[in-house]
Structure formats: structure tokens, C-alpha cells
Symmetry: D3
Subunit: 171 residues, 6 copies
Amino acid sequence: MRRALLIGRFQPFHRGHLEALTAISREFDRVVVGIGSAQESHTLKNPFTAGERYLMIEAALEEAGITNVALLPIPDMNRNAVWVSHVTSLVPPFDVFFTNNPLPRTLFEEKGYKVQPIPFVSRSEYEGTTIRSQMLQGGPWEERVPPATAAVIRKLGGPERLRVLAGNDRA
Amino acid sequence: MRRALLIGRFQPFHRGHLEALTAISREFDRVVVGIGSAQESHTLKNPFTAGERYLMIEAALEEAGITNVALLPIPDMNRNAVWVSHVTSLVPPFDVFFTNNPLPRTLFEEKGYKVQPIPFVSRSEYEGTTIRSQMLQGGPWEERVPPATAAVIRKLGGPERLRVLAGNDRA
Amino acid sequence: MRRALLIGRFQPFHRGHLEALTAISREFDRVVVGIGSAQESHTLKNPFTAGERYLMIEAALEEAGITNVALLPIPDMNRNAVWVSHVTSLVPPFDVFFTNNPLPRTLFEEKGYKVQPIPFVSRSEYEGTTIRSQMLQGGPWEERVPPATAAVIRKLGGPERLRVLAGNDRA
Amino acid sequence: MRRALLIGRFQPFHRGHLEALTAISREFDRVVVGIGSAQESHTLKNPFTAGERYLMIEAALEEAGITNVALLPIPDMNRNAVWVSHVTSLVPPFDVFFTNNPLPRTLFEEKGYKVQPIPFVSRSEYEGTTIRSQMLQGGPWEERVPPATAAVIRKLGGPERLRVLAGNDRA
Amino acid sequence: MRRALLIGRFQPFHRGHLEALTAISREFDRVVVGIGSAQESHTLKNPFTAGERYLMIEAALEEAGITNVALLPIPDMNRNAVWVSHVTSLVPPFDVFFTNNPLPRTLFEEKGYKVQPIPFVSRSEYEGTTIRSQMLQGGPWEERVPPATAAVIRKLGGPERLRVLAGNDRA
Amino acid sequence: MRRALLIGRFQPFHRGHLEALTAISREFDRVVVGIGSAQESHTLKNPFTAGERYLMIEAALEEAGITNVALLPIPDMNRNAVWVSHVTSLVPPFDVFFTNNPLPRTLFEEKGYKVQPIPFVSRSEYEGTTIRSQMLQGGPWEERVPPATAAVIRKLGGPERLRVLAGNDRA
């Protein structure tokens, strides 16, 4: 059985993520999706809890008929030298680690793992930033996420939460 | 959609756990199984990593034909007063929390969650202790776990790891 | 008995804070003041330890004849999803949480607490920034804090500490 | 102004503690009482949150007419070499540290602080253990705590919580 | 250049440790000695700080004329799955890891490192326990440690500290 | 015996550091060099692990014939009020703490330690930033570090790592 691992923050899950998962889920028997920075929530950069992000991705996968993907929260470790051991102790063994970001790619490659670029998604973080910005300012964020995800985000009051957080000065 | 949450350490996953999941998975649309103390491994009490426990449970669920269970690692928080918030931020919303242990029951009930006893399993921790003890001493542990789980444990070298750890004096 | 909770960093405690406490202390039997980010000190943003901030506030309350306020250090939790549980486990029960900042307001409201704006103080953080900046540059910071607080800050060598820290490049 | 510091876990606050505070509060202008292991709760050894312990002590002090005592939560640091710096950064300056326990006495004395034994209370931890044991088994625990504290504990359901926790096997 | 790594708690450093280092230092160009549980001190099991243990070992090495050993504090990680990555990020690369304890042996072997038993020392932890016990009870602990180490321990007041700690009931 | 303590991040170790160590090592019997932020690696600001920095400094000291310097990793504590206790528990006693940075100077001076400026190096952090920037952009970084250090950095693939990390967008 061949398994792929892909880690993202999914703040929020968007169409680029779904395209990538669609492609990878066809190539592999199982895909483990790590919901990264799982401990983060209620900030402009990380508005949604890991549980909320789980809902968004689960809904999109169902809508797309993808059934071989497992979602796992992965809290940050904040220590690059042990991050790979941290992740690999939390997930089942995998054959390929998918990422387009240089730091995780370097860390996994240094430990001898096979790393491949995520298809279709060049730089998903930029997309996430754009979508959060549109949520905040009333832009057409819904076009950029799968319909089922949009429904979850609306139900969670995502744009309202972002607008509240944008006014935050606690610190 | 009705969802149940059940958290255990699953060191290892055993027949009692499987019976409980079989029953709960019939009653609910989805069951979230939290792999507790996810950060622990390589001790006599917690020999297996969260990823290894994932493999054990996944194999047993497939063998049993159960398809509506999701497995999520839940690291400890070591602070009872915030444990419920910790858990609920990592998992999707749920209708019932299943446990037979008094501490999690109390903590969830104090926060207003609905808690029910796990059917079929009275005190799974006692069972876990017995199985680990049998692994260590060469007893018939395999009878107590689902066949597919036994195969995963053998492949992981579970009894060997326990015997090595039993000789440990670092601390 | 009605109790209010108000949390701030008080870097330093200023006249706006005192006006607010004066008003709230008349309305409630007891006021709990949480000294937030209690673990922080010796930075430009958080120059004073929690113990030093305790001295500043205690002196101002005595000067103002306010006797129903208790001061409690509240360390940060750095995890928004559990922050409310963290705070509420450290303080006695309260009827109203006072804040003008969106993040704590949202977090407490999401958990069902009653939240009210702090009277007289619109955005105390801006005021704190201004005062620290004046301390650093020799401006008239003393006018902005209660006289008894100014005396404590002078005795602690507050402006000198800030000037030293402004030269810091360790990191 | 002379200030004393006394730290205890107060699980629960008992008559020995009150006698000690009565004596110390007469000798000093102010007494700071640190509620130690503030992050602990819901265990057999530490059943009550810091906030709940605050209520117990506050009630007893009011009943006794003691008005110069301040209560502050002190979380554990779990590193003896930095514990004194941790504590002293959270509390206002003090003249004498009161303790009957050898570890804190040693740690504070090594850093040059003046340490005195707590009057009237020889080994308060033993007393705490006895009281918790009586709560658990239905013994006459109420005689050992101030009446106002007993009322708080009853209202919090202290004995019930201990009995529930005594059945715990999560770990 | 061939380098060896050896990690111990050295509470305290004793003759068995010195014999082992003497032998290993002849076989390797450099020996890195990790002072484990570096964050611990002032307990019966870990009475001495990492800095104090540094002094003990440094003195013994000088007395023995060993010049190719480097001493490094290694704090605990409390997570077995990442412990090897933690250690290897703090020390220079090494050819052989020396240990007689099963847990570190297993962890390093699982990651593919070469592990050898420490010569002359079968179970150093037992020896450490005996020496601490003799310090506490006035036994002939000095015979069991190198003379220069004994001098350091006496100067640090080691036996006195242990006797004070033995009376501790804070917790 | 007179001992000096000097702490730096050494990202990377450069000629200014070596000049300083040369001078200090002549004045003192022993010099302890703390490799600060030891837990950091694989970032643009802290590209190298503590173990890699150990190699760089060790090589330069050998090349310079300096034999009385010991290298110790010092992880961050992220709490200024306890930082001095943290450091002093990990290192042997010292007579003078050398630093040119205001924060550590203030923290050590407040605790009563003797602090002196590092000779020859005015602001080593600026130098480190420049060298990392040159590594990234192909500038003449090798001139700024001791030859033996340059060899270690080349062998570690330092410039390549920085260029990879510069493309990072995980966060």
C-alpha cells in the first residue's frame, strides 16, 4: 500500500488544495493530510481551529467523492531540528512527502525522505493570504474555495471572526 | 449528522476497543477516535507512537469493515482545567463523548458536554496493562487484540520493544 | 456578591486604567485585575515584571482610596482556543469581563461570558505605547500616570531600563 | 512597609494556615500569599483550581477580619534552579519568606533571601493530605478548616469531586 | 577524526564513569560527554546543577590527565520519539554512541546510529543511587568518586544539600 | 582559577569573535563560550544547529591554537526574569560575563554579576547579519570568518541552506 503525506495550514482549505488532493489521491492508496499549526486559532493568519479546518476539508472531500484521505491535526514543534521526528511519530508511515515550501522540503530531505512538489498548487500560502484578505474586506472569497467548504465557513461565521480579529490590539 | 468522540491511549488497541467502536459506529454517522497521549512512545506504559497506533487501529477497522471512523492524534495538555478546550479545538464538533474513566467524564461534564459510558469495555486501561504485561512475558497477548492489529504489532516488533524497554534504567 | 474581571498588561498602569477601575469598583463588590503577560519583562513592549506592575497598581489604588480590587498575575497561554479556560481557572468566579480589545472579547463571548467595554479607556494599549515612548525619549510621561505610580516607576528606574533596552540587539 | 511572602498549595486551606496567617499578618504590613501549583486541579493531590482556592482563602480571611493579605496564583516552574527568579518576578518585593519545607527554604536561602519558619504550622502538607483523605472517605474534614472555607468547599462540591477522581484510571 | 558520544546524568560523576572515559578517550580522537537532565537540580535524584556537574567532571579529567573530552549540558526533551534529533542537533557529529541503558540504545539504534556498551561500567545508575544514599546517610561515598570530584562535592556542600532535600515535603 | 563567560549565537562564528576569544583567553584561565539560542536552526537568522556551530568554533580555536575554551549549548528560556538563573545553572561559576548587548548586560548586572564589554567586537550581531546576507547573495563571506570555520561552513553547505531557506513560505 502506497501512502502520501501532505501538510498544510488550510486557513482556509481552497480549490488549489482540492485539486492537489484529487490528483494525489488517485496516485496513492491513502493520503494523510496533516492540519498544520493545529494549536493556532483566532488570529488573522490562523483564524480557524484545527477542528474547524477538519470540517472544511471533510466537506470538500465528500463533495468531491474522495474517500482515501485521512485528516490529522499536527501541532507546531517550533524547533526545526526535531520537526521531522515530531511529524513522523504522529502519522502512519508514508512513501512520499508532498510540499512546495522550501523549509519542510529541506528538513525532510535532510532526513532522507522522498519529497515531491504538490501538483497544481504553486504557492498555496499566497492563495490563503488572498482569501483571508478577501474575507476581511468583503471580496469574492467564496469563488476560491470548494462550495462545501464555503458553506462550512459561512456557518462558522468566518468573515465575521476575521473582521473582529482585525480590530484586535491585545498583545 | 451525529458524531461521537472517544479518546483512548490504545497501548495497544484491543478487542474491547473494537467491540465498542463497532457498536458506536452503528449508532452514529461518524466516530472520531482520539489517539490520546499522542506525544508518548517507547515507555513500558506507552510503547507505541501515535503513528504506530494509527496503523493498529486502521487495520482492525478495515478487517471489521467499519468505514465511518476517523483517527486523530491528541497530545496531552497536562493541565486538567484546560484539557476540554484543548481537545475540542482539535476535533470536529460532536454530540456525545464516550468514556469510562472518571477524570475525562468529570471534565467534560463540568463544561456541559453529554458523556456516555463506552459499551462492552468496562475498564480498558486494565486490559491494556494486562496485554502489555503479556507481551513482555511471552503470554497469549495476540488473543486479546484483533487479528489485523496483532499482525501490525508483530511487524512493528512490539514485544521485542517492550522487552528492551523493561531493562531501561535511564531517568 | 458581584465581581468584575479586567485584564491588562499595565506597561505601565496609567490614568485611564485608574479612571476605569474607579468606575468599575463602584459598580461591583469586588474587582479582580489580571496582570496579563505576567511572564514578560525587560523588553521595550513589556519593560516591567508582574511584581513591579503589582507595586505600581497597588500604590495608585491606595492613593485613590480604592479597597475592593485584587491584583493577580496571569501568564500568557499562547493558545487562543484554551485561553478562556486558562484564565478562568486562575481567578475567582466573576459576573462581567471588561475589555476593549476584540480578541479577548471574542474569546470570552464565544464561551458564553458577559463582556462589557471598559469605561473611560478607549484603547489603553495605544496609551501604553505612548507612555513607554515618552519614557524612552524623555517626554512628559509622568502626567499620564497616577502620581503614586510615577513614584514607583521612578524608584524602579523605569526610564533608565527602557533606554538600556532600546539599545539591545541580542536575539 | 514590611511585607511577608508565604507560598502553599492550600489543597485545601485549613486552620493551621489561618493561624499562621493571623500571626504573620500582625507582624507585617502586608502579606502576600502565593497559591502554588496554580496550574494544577482535578487530581487527588490537587483537587481545586487556583481560582477555587482563592475563594476558600478569601472567605476565611474575611471571616477572621484579616485585611492585609493579598492572594496571587503562582504556577509551577518545574526547574528548581530558576524557581526563585520565577517567583520573585511575579510578586512584589518582600522582607521575609515563610516556609516550613526544606526545598523552598534551601532555594531561597541559596539566593540570599531571609527565610523563617511558619508559626503554628509544622508540616502543613501532612495536614492537607489528611483532610483530602477525610473528604474522600467521609471523615470530619470540616473541623479542620475555617467555617467559611468549609462553606466554600461544600458549595464547590469538593468531597464529590474527590470521590469521582478517586475512581480515575486515565493516564 | 573519530568522535564518541556518551550521555549520563552524573549525579555524581564516579570512578566507574572515569574508568569508562579513560578507556574511550584512548580509542577516540574526541569524546563528547553530554550532561543529561541538565535542567534538573536540587532533588534527591538530581541534586546537582549541570554547572556543578561540569565542575566535578572537569576536575576529575584534569586529575587523570585526560584532555580530549568536551562537556556539554543536554536538557531533557521528555518525548522519546524526538530525543535523538534533539541530542544530535546539540552535539557535533560522532561515530559511536556509548550507553549501557536500553532506552537510549534503542532510540539511537532505531535511527541507525552505531551504539556500543560503556566499558567497565555495567549499570552506572545503580552506582549513582548508592553514592547519593551514602551521602545522605554519612556512608563512605568519597571512595566511590575520583579524589578531585570528592573535593568539588565537599566544596559544594553536596551531602548537606542532600540531607536538606531529604526533609522536603513541598509538592 | 579565573573563568570568563561569553554567550553568542555565532550564526556564524566570525573573525571578530575569534579576536575577542583570543584576547579573553589570554586574560583568563578558562573561557566558557555559550552557544546561545541552541535550540534554533534552519532559519535565515539562525541557519546552523548548535552542533554545527560547535564544529565551526572548535575548528577556529584549533587553528588559532587556543586550548582553554569550552563550548556549551545554551537553549533560550524566553523569559527575561529567569534567564540569568537559567544560564548560571548550566555553566560552571565564572568571574566575568562578557557581552556588548544591552539586554544580557542589564539582566546580569541586575543580579550582581560583573559584566565587561567584549574587546574588538563592537556589535557582533550586525556582523552576523552581514555575513548571512553575503552567504545568501554570493558575497565574499569567507573573508569575514576564520579559514577553518569557512571550511566547516562549506562542508555543511551553509550558503546552499540559506538560499533554500530564503525561499521558504511555511509559517
